[in-house]
Point group: C2
Chain length 526, copies 2
């Protein structure tokens, strides 16, 4: 097995020469279109499907993508990863987030520890702790139950857990497993912490400090902010805080926390929603059982990602089609459009997972690559987006591939009939309509009302956004991004691009600047 640049692969070179032949306005027309919808879908976990009928591919391209998967050893590379190879070459680390939710391959032992056992142990410790909180066996100093959990973290310690919490909040309320309200403090902007503290009763709140290294400036600053607020109320901060960190961090054995739960260097922040980073806040909010069901869904989807054949592996197929769109068709961005208000922050989480993993110009050996890598990712829930940026998606000068997500049932299952249909039916009708409007367009003599069509999309369809379905969705996109990293020959698991800004910011704060940096700092009164 070799790690090669995309443009050295024979299949890629062939595809590059051929370009695109698929005209969606014809392929999706009439009964042929219906047959295409039936044929161009792959089962996912939890009864979901990944439909690529509205992508600009045909049987020939799919055959080539299968060959590309083979030539670039995608399945073998994933197997290396889950069997514990040093895939994060830059930082010389294993990449083990899949192990937090299941074991796909052999035992992975690192630093003398079976890592699956380690992650399970942390889950168990969190579950026990959460149950004590829920039962009132651990309380505040007055013996009152904690009612709110506030996560303090940024980036991977914020976006994923926050998006997952919002995705399940209403489902949990409906299904009688809503235990504690969760809030999140992330930004170093003091108005973030102040604003949240203004609407939170600190006396009944448990704060979860999340930092793998224990040195993240924003997070430590916000911790101090919160401690200050607790002390002003005469509360003992150490009785209101837990830490999620690595065992080697300065937070690990501090008496400042009620308890500390652990992750490690083999789990990148943006991949940490299924580790203790997501586990603590989600187990506290919804109970450990719900968190377990979320992990179960992710584990099921991971198993599909281990399939060799992309036609049975939705994440791999999605990745291949995405690379086809980026490198053969030349599209620079991708929109993620969930038709589910509960997934309101899911696009922001995927923006991080994708852009931080694959927004790179050098391959895993540190050599510049000569082809575009990760696209810009953005998105908002439908139907809201339809009344906002869809104008550009339909009639703008650039084509933006779309990833729709839809569910047959709402979470709360409280609905009204207006003009002969329920809100949920209207929601679903809209996403079906959008796929076809983008793909097939519309002729019109008035060019202002003309839609060119041939704007590709895929859709993931599920029955309902349950904990399992959410886990499967998360796994799908994590694995998609991983396969794209393999195709582009990138190290998707480091983030050297965030370092320079940190270094310069420290210099500004130390007043060790001159020239333009000093001039900008002066304008900002620092």
């Amino acid at each position: 097995m070799e790690w090669k640049n995309l443009d050295t692969l024979k299949t890629y070179q062939d595809m590059k020469q051929e370009g695109c032949r698929t005209d969606l306005t014809k392929e999706l027309a009439g009964e042929k279109g219906a047959r295409r919808v039936a044929a161009y879908q792959v089962p996912m976990a939890e009864g979901m499907i990944y439909s690529y009928a509205a992508k600009q591919v045909d049987d020939k391209v799919l055959e080539q993508l299968r060959a590309l998967a083979e030539e670039s050893d995608l399945a073998d590379k994933f197997a290396e990863l889950y069997n514990g190879a040093v895939i994060n070459t830059g930082e010389k680390r294993l990449v083990l987030h899949q192990l937090t939710r299941g074991q796909l391959g052999k035992d992975v032992v690192a630093d003398g520890v079976n890592k699956r056992a380690f992650y399970l142990e942390q889950q168990k410790r969190i579950a026990e702790f959460a149950e004590k909180i829920h039962k009132g066996e651990i309380t505040n100093e007055k013996g009152e139950k904690f009612t709110t959990v506030v996560q303090i973290g940024i980036g991977g310690s914020d976006l994923g857990p926050r998006a997952m919490y919002l995705a399940l909040e209403n489902w949990a309320k409906k299904n009688g497993c809503f235990r504690m309200e969760a809030r999140f403090i992330s930004n170093v902007d003091p108005d973030d912490a102040s604003g949240i503290l203004n609407i939170t009763d600190p006396e009944k709140s448990l704060f979860v400090l999340v930092s793998k290294s224990g040195t993240t400036l924003e997070t430590l600053t916000n911790e101090a902010f919160v401690k200050n607020a607790l002390e002003k109320k005469g509360l003992d901060a150490s009785k209101h805080m837990i830490a999620v960190t690595s065992e080697t961090s300065p937070l690990a054995k501090s008496s400042d926390y009620l308890e500390a739960f652990f992750m490690d260097d083999y789990i990148g922040g943006r991949y940490s929603s299924t580790s203790a980073v997501g586990g603590a806040v989600l187990s506290l909010a919804f109970g450990p059982e719900i968190f377990g069901r979320f992990l179960q869904g992710a584990a099921e989807e991971d198993k599909l990602a281990a399939e060799r054949d992309p036609m049975k592996n939705p994440a791999m197929l999605d990745a291949l089609i995405g690379v086809y769109e980026r490198n053969i068709l030349g599209y620079p961005a991708t929109a993620v459009l969930p038709y589910s208000q509960a997934l309101s922050r899911f696009p922001a989480h995927l923006q991080q997972v994708d852009m931080e993993s694959n927004g790179k110009s050098v391959n895993r050996f540190g050599e510049p690559v000569d082809y575009p890598t990760g696209p810009v990712i953005f998105g908002e829930p439908g139907t809201n987006g339809q009344h906002s940026f869809y104008q550009l998606l339909h009639q703008g000068t650039d084509i933006v591939p779309l990833q729709f997500i839809g569910f047959r049932k709402s979470q709360i299952e409280n609905d009204v009939q207006i003009q002969g249909s329920s809100s949920q039916q209207k929601l679903c009708a809209n996403v079906a309509a959008q796929i076809m409007a983008f793909a097939c367009g519309k002729e019109d003599e008035n060019r202002n009302k003309y839609f060119a069509g041939n704007r590709p999309s895929s859709i993931i369809i599920g029955d309902q956004l349950t904990p399992e379905a959410l886990g499967a969705l998360l796994s799908h996109f994590e694995n998609k991004v991983m396969f794209q990293g393999f195709l582009w020959n990138l190290n998707s698991f480091d983030q050297e691009g965030v370092q320079l800004g940190k270094v310069l910011a420290k210099r500004v704060l130390a007043h060790e600047t001159d020239g333009a940096l000093k001039a900008f700092s002066d304008l900002l009164d620092i």
Copy 2:
């Protein structure tokens, strides 16, 4: 004055041939860089500045952009607009949102009415109504004060007002003018309305139904949803609802509402934050005086937009540089990055303003254009984004121009000192550092840690995010988008691209489908 395509303009053709010469890694280095920062800035309203020192322009390019502004008659076109010409040619409408906050030119009379007087009258009616609510002169049926206002609207009736509310919520709390909490229901997903109703006491809530036409499907559906909930609680819905709509809409004279306030066809949804659409909810939440201060800031900034010389007109200059980046330098996206948690939804609002206005492929005469128009717009607040998608911005294969926004002071002015600096100082240090990191990059033998630099950004710097500053910011971007529309020769004020999806969705709900559309509908169980 003529409306010409960008690529027919002599200045543009010259610039296109010359390409880019500015090397930011050199221009921003040393004392030369400091001088550049001092020189390359334009005053905005409220003591703010627009700094373009980190854009890839030099004096020669700026001279050409000035010539381009002249050749495309930008100032005259804006004057036509604010003097009441039919600028929205597609829908044959005037474009009057600036009149909601001031009068830049002559009296505009349409449909026999002085429009400035009409907008002022609506503001006054809203102010009086809001004061009665605040004083308890209008109450619920039990005689209790309303404590919460819930806006029901989508797109322009949601994103702008929501972003503005969030932008001022903490400021208002700090400054003693927080009157009512606001919430928003927008998505046709029934979980949106259900979720909000679950955390809202309808008995003490006033609902603001916002739809210009009175026919927006999502909004009418959510109205029915809310009425249903009110009736289930034994409440008279008509005593809990007001409408914001046009005078000709079915909602205008309905007895279903306590009161109706009016906008008209000359204000596009995405430009309606300063009309009754934003006015009702913001006046109820913060009081009419604060809404007035917000309008005042917008009016001040509008005045600057009427300047002929782009070097004194920040919106025009921003627009020109943006077109330079899009059409000469070929960058396909722009990120909006406010270093202010209060502006958390401001990028989502600008995404609508920009992409719905200029995401078009035909000029104002309905003829296809041969150049890229509106870019993809996305963004999240800093420093959060730094820990997410900035990796791609720093080291990805595509260059994404950046629009930073920063303020010297926080809104709540509650802060802590950690490691010798306050959170606000850390926030500001980070944005200054990012500008320089993007512009100048960093050499490194390890290519993984190498930053190429030459990634352009601008920054708007203000003292504090007050109502006036927010109004000025909003006006800046609205006018920027307008000037870009003029440059690209688009009609920025219609949105034909949203129609096709609506038509097809109706067909799905009526079960009048076949082929692929039926197949997708079946998959979604509609």
